[in-house]
């Protein structure tokens, strides 16, 4: 009897550990703490600060007009999301922010669950573009985008499953023409898709 109990416990302990680890992995939160960027607001000439939690997201979705094709695309993209958080600062002069401002965000993105999809550092343009993704159970649980340019800093944090292809296709909608970049690097206004 005692032998059976010991054997059962030996089998049960690893099983419990696996369950706990799986639960911990599943509950990994893709929400980033980006409130430290708020101190850049006084220096910025233009600020975009969007903070939409799950409840507000549902309200916003409720106010999308299903008959409007652009709104329908947005609805398609945001279905299932739990939150959208964006902070974007435009400055009149370069170097108004320091790498230290991004340090805490970068450290969060080095945590478990997050993996960097793309990282571009341009010495000539003095810009850094990074796209991170959190995978939960083989599915996208959230994304983070950091775009640090000399006069602009943008941090995006989207929580929940999202189709990046559909998200990228949204640019050019909402009455704003899509910007096309020619091979020589000059920008040209393109036609809306």
């Amino acid at each position: 009897m005692k032998l059976m109990l010991t054997k059962s416990l030996r089998l049960l302990c690893p099983a419990l550990l696996i369950i706990v680890a799986a639960a911990a992995g599943y509950s990994q939160d893709a929400r980033l703490q980006i409130s430290n960027l708020d101190r850049l607001e006084p220096k910025a000439s233009q600020v975009v600060d969007v903070s939409i939690d799950g409840r507000l997201l549902q309200i916003a979705i409720g106010f999308l007009n299903p008959k409007d094709p652009e709104h329908a695309k947005v609805r398609d993209v945001v279905a299932g999301l739990k939150g959208v958080y964006v902070k974007s600062y435009e400055f009149d002069r370069p170097d108004e922010y320091s790498p230290a401002d991004l340090a805490s965000i970068s450290s969060q993105l080095k945590g478990p669950g997050w993996s960097r999809m793309v990282g571009i550092r341009s010495a000539r343009d003095k810009e850094t573009l990074e796209v991170y993704m959190m995978l939960v159970g083989g599915k996208i649980g959230g994304i983070a985008v950091i775009a640090a340019e000399p006069k602009q800093l943008t941090v995006v944090n989207i929580i929940g499953p999202i189709d990046l292809e559909k998200l990228a296709a949204l640019e050019g909608n909402f009455g704003i023409p899509k910007l096309k970049i020619k091979g020589d690097g000059t920008k040209d206004k393109g036609v809306r898709p």
Binding site: A60, D125, V145, L167
Partner: protein, 200 residues
């Protein structure tokens, strides 16, 4: 002389007292005292008493059941009201093609008195100039006017706010546009890395 004999017949007896005792002793009451039995309860009385106790207990239980039923009904009504009000602002959950833009007045009626409107809820959904507003009727099983009056403004305040909804929508669109632009910027940089430095 001590008075112990007069008190409890102890001590030295007084001859005069003894004489008086003998004289008056002839007049003492000699018959035994009558019994005073307690009134006995008849079987009918006993049954009646038991029945009364049982009736009181049954009444108490019935009262408790009625009170519990009333309380549960109130709770149920409250939940139904909340659900109905929640449905008002969730266009997907409304029957048919109703959406938040088309709801202006919701009249709640009882099934008991179908012709008598109990409460009007003014819902200011997203107004759309091209769509005329219309009234929607939501029927409740047993709505309580007091509960509706209490729950409706709270739910509406919480869930129906045109300004909040429109602002949230605009914020969402702005955020998605910005994100989309940044993702496309990354894509362009990856594809056209002539001017970019080392791609990590």
């Amino acid at each position: 002389m001590r008075d112990d004999y007069l008190w409890d017949k102890s001590g030295q007896p007084d001859p005069e007292i003894e004489r008086l005792e003998q004289l008056l002793g002839n007049l003492r009451y000699r018959r035994p005292a009558q019994d005073l039995p307690l009134p006995e309860r008849s079987p009918v009385q006993t049954r009646r008493s038991t029945f009364t106790t049982f009736l009181a207990a049954a009444a108490a239980v019935l009262l408790m059941i009625t009170a519990a039923g009333f309380w549960l009904t109130l709770r149920s009504n409250q939940k139904e009201t909340a659900r109905a009000l929640a449905a008002v602002v969730e266009p997907g959950s409304l029957p048919g093609a109703l959406n938040a833009a088309s709801i202006s007045v919701i009249t709640v009626r009882t099934t008991r008195e179908p012709n008598r409107p109990e409460h009007n809820i003014i819902a200011t959904g997203a107004s759309s100039p091209e769509k005329p507003r219309r009234a929607t009727v939501i029927k409740h099983r047993e709505p309580s006017v007091a509960l509706l009056a209490k729950a409706a403004p709270q739910a509406l305040r919480e869930r129906i706010s045109e300004d909040e909804g429109v602002a949230a929508r605009e914020q969402l669109i702005k955020a998605l546009h910005l994100t989309s632009a940044k993702l496309n910027q990354v894509q362009r940089k990856v594809l056209d890395n002539k001017g970019a430095g080392p791609v990590s």
